[in-house]
């Protein structure tokens, strides 16, 4: 029966494996090795320095500053995005209450869902440049709105007090729509009679959300948390294009630090790889922690 399967296995597996091994696996492995060298330029020699890069990294104020910003992103972005996502998804899928059917969406759900998803299909580059113009101190949308109100708007991205928070806001803005759709799809899978029963018991909308919807959506929320946490550890494109880490490093993130160390202001490949290794372990531990912290019993409805 199964004779002759090996030609297919070889033909189907070897080319992808080669490509993946050469261009993906080998760079990842090499990165760990490079991170233990002092390789400092295209022609320079690479000497083994052990963990010197890592000990230096722990005393590097610029790196700590960047990590601190990523930590703020990590604390704020998933929480706010998921809260807004759940809120809007609830409104869309069961906001229009009171009819005979019990639980339905509001009018125009399809249109809202269409529009909310816009940022998800646009490239982050476009989003960054659009918002850079929105925040523009003289001819931006935001200060153009404040001016007639008699408020002399700040320079936003040019102000070290606000720059980072402006980028954070854009990060939330660009993610909410995706999670509205994701949570919405999961809500559609919840049997309607559960809600009808709760409604009969006279539960308020908020109680329904917290006691019924969120527990039933927990798997999806957990996935959302992990994805958003990983995104919060990145933030490279938005920051590079909106503020380039400035002003005065106030909006720096770890990815930008790594990129600049290797490809822009510097070519310290060894040190940059060490930052990359730290990013890897941060990402890994955040994913594991998020999984652990949000672990609950799975609810299955049949």
């Amino acid at each position: 029966m199964r004779h002759g399967k090996y030609p297919l296995i070889v033909a189907f597996l070897v080319p992808p494996l080669l490509l993946y091994g050469v261009f993906v696996l080998s760079p990842y492995v090499q990165a760990f090795q490079i991170s233990t060298t002092d390789w400092g330029g295209y022609t320079a020699d690479a000497n083994y320095v052990g963990f010197d890069n890592f000990t230096r990294l722990f005393r590097d104020d610029y790196v700590w500053n960047a990590i601190q910003n990523n930590a703020i992103l990590l604390a704020v972005v998933p929480l706010v995005t998921i809260a807004l996502g759940l809120f809007f998804a609830t409104m869309l899928n069961m906001g229009g209450r009171g009819g005979k059917a019990g639980v339905t969406g509001v009018r125009g759900t399809a249109a809202y869902r269409l529009v909310y998803f816009f940022p998800q299909v646009l490239s982050v580059v476009i989003i960054a440049v659009v918002w850079r113009e929105v925040y523009h101190p003289n001819n931006g949308l935001l200060n153009g709105l404040l001016k007639p109100l008699g408020i002399d708007g700040p320079t936003w991205l040019g102000d070290p007090r606000y720059a980072f928070w402006c980028v954070l806001a854009v990060m939330v803005w660009s993610n909410v729509g995706f999670y509205v759709v994701l949570f919405g799809a999961a809500m559609q899978a919840i049997p309607r009679d559960i809600y009808e029963a709760v409604l009969l018991d006279g539960a308020s909308r908020f109680v329904t959300l917290v006691r019924i919807t969120i527990p039933l959506l927990w798997d999806t929320v957990q996935v959302a948390w992990i994805y958003l946490a990983i995104a919060a550890l990145d933030g490279f494109i938005l920051v590079q294009l909106m503020t380039d880490g400035g002003p005065n490093h106030s909006s720096d993130v770890i990815g930008l630090r790594m990129y600049n160390t290797a490809f822009a202001s510097d070519t310290r490949f060894g040190y940059a790889s060490a930052i990359g290794v730290v990013m890897f372990f941060l990402t890994l531990s955040v994913a594991v922690l998020a999984l652990r912290a949000s672990k609950r019993d799975r609810i299955e409805y049949s």
């Binding site: 033909a11 261009f23 906001g95 509001v106 249109a111 998803f117 646009l122 490239s123 996935v223």
Partner: protein, 296 residues
């Protein structure tokens, strides 16, 4: 594309039925917030579109004003002088190649993992899928030199291969799960009838896997089209070969020096409109394609 249209037609009525049954009482409170967020999402984009018709004086004097005329010459200037047209073409070439490669390699590898038993299968599978856990930043420095040593730095084939490589983990993960859901009996019947293993894949299994292929194809298309970090590292040298995302970033920077705001807004609009148009046409496929991977 025809495949997408065929699937597009029957979808909407089924999904909207439960909503059409009863509107319920419109709630001012919830509508207010929903409308506010809709405004917040669309208005910046709409503003860019409107600003793309303004001249620089109008942009600088009144950001909320309307353009005096529909100045399509801004668009023309962005298309030719800022090379948006060229960058569009470059992105199309790169994504065509990278998407073909990703789908071909992803589908074949996933099929083998899902349907065949062989030594070290688990090892190879986790080797592929494990790539999802690594941040791309970790690979950047060595990747630059791997690509350079292969003579592929600043070339389109280089970008295509690298895009495909970094899309494989998720593609293989997704499609392996999908191929596993296909019924075993069809494959067995075909083999009994004397159908070869290769024919079985291309004639029977691949067509059956079409919904999964479309979902992951859409996902990969968007992530390749919007890719920025990889080309930024691997396509620094030759500006004429850069992709659209890089071109827009360059335009945004140079606009700061030259003060050509209308050109920038026009360039952004040209880059935005086709993507949004395609999205509006295939919104259901695209939304489910992008969210499918997370719901598994």
């Amino acid at each position: 594309m025809t495949a997408l249209q065929e699937r597009a037609a029957p979808a909407p009525p089924a999904a909207e039925k439960p909503l059409r049954r009863e509107w319920g009482v419109a709630n001012v409170f919830s509508h207010g917030f929903l409308a506010l967020w809709a405004l917040l999402t669309t208005f910046p984009l709409l503003w860019v579109l409107i600003s793309s018709f303004k001249n620089d004086t109008e942009i600088l004097s009144d950001p909320w004003g309307l353009p005096g005329a529909l100045r399509f010459d801004n668009w023309a200037r962005a298309w030719t002088e800022a090379h948006i047209g060229q960058y569009f073409f470059n992105s199309a070439v790169v994504v065509t190649g990278s998407l073909t490669l990703t789908m071909l390699f992803g589908a074949t590898a996933a099929y083998v993992f899902a349907r065949y038993e062989f030594r070290f299968r688990q090892v190879f599978y986790y080797l592929f899928v494990g790539g999802m856990m690594f941040p791309v930043f970790l690979a950047l420095v060595p990747l630059f030199f791997v690509v350079r040593n292969a003579g592929l730095l600043n070339t389109w084939p280089g970008l295509m291969i690298v895009y495909a490589g970094y899309s494989l983990p998720f593609t293989v993960f997704f499609l392996t799960a999908f191929f596993r859901t296909l019924p075993e009996s069809v494959a067995e019947a075909a083999l009994l009838d004397g159908c070869g293993h290769f024919r079985l894949f291309f004639r029977v299994m691949l067509p059956m896997a079409r919904p999964g292929l479309i979902s992951i194809g859409i996902f990969n298309f968007l992530s390749h089209w919007n890719q920025f970090i990889l080309p930024q590292v691997l396509m620094q040298g030759d500006e004429s070969k850069q992709v659209l995302a890089q071109g827009l970033a360059t335009l945004a920077v140079s606009q700061g020096y030259e003060g050509d705001y209308s050109g920038l807004f026009a360039g952004l609009t040209i880059a935005m409109l086709p993507v949004l148009a395609v999205y509006i046409l295939f919104q259901r496929q695209i939304q489910s394609g992008l969210t499918a991977g997370q719901l598994k």
